[in-house]
Amino acid sequence: MAFFKRTAHAPLEYSKSLWMRGWVALVMLFLYIPLFVLMAFSFNDSKRNVVWRGFTTKYYGIAWENAQLWDAMMNSLTIAFFATIFSLIIGSMAAVMLWRFRFPFKSAVDGTMSLPIIVPEICLGVAFLVFFSWIGWPSGLVWPINLGAIIIAHITFCFPFVTMVVRARLASFNREQEEAAKDLGASEWQAFRDVLVPHIKPALVSGALLAFTLSLDDFVITFFTSTPGTDTFPVLVYSLVKRGVTPDVNAASTILILLTVLLTAVALKLQGAKALADTH
């Protein structure tokens, strides 16, 4: 195997040293073995995640029929969809505001807006629990309006990430481009649309991906803001893990993992791995 072939290497080719390769291989195994085991067990012909009893795809059928799973998935995706759209709008507005203008208490506003990134999830979750119970947010509304509270909570912790990504991109914007556009006859709005927006487009894409994943991923804040009927996929899996998982959840998880792989691949195609890594 070429991976472990020992050749003379230049001093900076650290990745060619054997122990480095072994280390990376071990870390990758550590990261991936659990996921592969989970995916393998989704094809296991047994009710328990313990011994391999033969190959079956029947749990994918069962997952397909499982209304609870479907509801949770639909809830998760709906929440993530709306949270992403609104985070993108609010986040980019905040980024442009902080980048473009000088106004009183700017550093205080800047700091406050990035607080949701730093404040522990549990504290934010608790705050929403208190908030929604205090204003008496009604429960038992029609779908998807009943998801409103969760969507609001998700927007609050997602949009600062969008702001961060967009602002980083704005920092590299050359104002002379905007001036050139105006010099060529563009109005303020046209210059914004034709020069600034195309420049921040990659940041909007990675911001949207980030917001979508964060929302889909969130358990704690959702846990504190969910009412009966609004369980998301993570909340469902959580209660199942506590009570005992059925193999169809493995099947659903496998599908979600594959979906993540697909999304990441799309993101990579759009952005390149390095740009994606830099946004974190």
Binding site: A8, H9, A10, P11, L12
Partner: protein, 376 residues
């Protein structure tokens, strides 16, 4: 220059491949102790790769490099008796100037008193005395380069390697540093090996130059030999400016040769061609070695010079372009064949520039000692 003939670096059949790309192709050369050796070539020719292999940052695919009589194949860069000045200078940004210069000595275990003494001497040498406590980001590019120089020189290496040492400096500073580097090399007596793509830099500093093209040594010679006796078209063209015409060798004797070039006529030279040749050869003439005349006069001058047979070393054309550079004026002259001849003419008096102008018909002449024959 303190120079003797012992090679300090011997490069033996060194090849470096990156996948399918060959960066350095079977290079063998000796660098003598005490010389100022320059590797000259266009970007991507493999000269930097060669330098980095001497320093130990790249491993040759084939061949060996010997430094001071020792095979370096298994010696890592931190154990080699050479030091390098990087193109980006690579001055450690988190250390003061003195700490930068003392870094190598600390590792070598030089005691404190000696270290301080040598740091001071090295900084004085590069004219940075009193800058000890400065941080690199408070210094200009030229000063940072001096820090890098001092940091390497203080190690008293057998060979100092310099990667494009002047490329990041502005034109004036570059000219000054060219002199200072030569001076410095004289003072410390260390062998310098420099990589550059700038021919002026190479010609002005080097005791010998290796011109590298596509990973191979195109010619290894002193600066003046490189300019006056280029070995091939690549060297003739890369070092300085030149007119090259393809032709056939019609006469080749011990003390004369004639190349018949369809584009310009017969070129006569006062030396025979050495080396094997068949088919086409090329005649090369430098622009400053051609004299311009008013139409009709050139032939008479050529005849009067009597160093070539009638009808040789003479051409006619029309001025199609000129640029006045102050000390000289450059002319581009369309020959009757349509080929372009470049001629430079010194402005010996203030009115000289008025002698010729666009679309003037001119004739040209050169001496038989001016052209060279190129076989490759």
């Amino acid at each position: 220059m303190t120079q003797n003939s012992d090679p300090i670096i011997q490069i033996r059949g060194v090849t470096k491949n990156y996948g399918k790309v060959t960066a350095v192709d079977n290079v063998s050369l000796d660098i003598r102790a005490g010389e100022f050796f320059v590797l000259l070539g266009p970007s991507g020719c493999g000269k930097t790769t060669l330098l980095r292999m001497i320093a130990g940052f790249e491993v040759p695919t084939e061949g060996q490099i010997w430094i001071d009589g020792q095979d370096m194949s298994r010696v890592p860069p931190n154990k080699r008796p050479v030091n390098m000045v990087f193109q980006s200078y690579a001055v450690f940004p988190h250390m003061s100037v003195a700490d930068n210069v003392a870094y190598g000595m600390k590792i070598a275990g030089v005691d404190r008193a000696e270290r301080e003494e040598r740091v001071r001497a090295a900084l004085d040498l590069v004219k940075l005395g009193g800058f000890d406590a400065r941080m690199p980001d408070q210094m200009s590019g030229g000063q940072r380069q001096r820090v890098a120089l001092a940091r390497s020189l203080v190690m008293r290496p057998k060979v100092l390697l310099l990667d494009e040492p002047l490329s990041a400096l502005d034109a004036k500073l570059r000219a000054q540093m060219q002199f200072e580097l030569s001076d410095l090399q004289d003072q410390v007596g260390i062998t310098f090996v420099t990589v550059t793509h700038d021919q002026d830099e190479a010609l002005s500093m080097a005791s010998r130059v290796a011109v590298i093209n596509k990973g191979e040594v195109s010619q290894l010679a002193t600066p003046s030999d490189l300019y006056e006796y280029p070995a091939n078209r690549f060297v003739a063209d890369f070092v300085g400016s030149v007119n090259i015409f393809e032709g056939k060798l019609t006469v080749d004797e011990k003390d004369k040769a004639v190349v018949d070039c369809p584009q310009i006529g017969k070129i006569y030279m006062d030396h025979g061609v050495t080396g094997p040749h068949e088919g086409a050869v090329w005649a090369a003439i430098r622009p400053e070695k051609i004299t311009l005349h008013k139409p009709g006069l050139g032939k008479a001058v050529a005849a009067a010079a009597k160093d070539a047979p009638e009808g040789h070393n003479f051409a006619r054309g029309t001025i199609k372009g000129m640029s006045y550079l102050g000390d000289i004026t450059l002319f581009e002259i369309a020959l009757e064949s349509g080929a372009i001849m470049r001629v430079s003419r010194p402005n010996l008096s203030r009115t000289d520039q008025e002698d010729f102008t666009w679309d003037d018909k001119v004739s040209m002449h050169w001496n038989s000692a001016s052209p060279v024959v190129l076989l490759g």
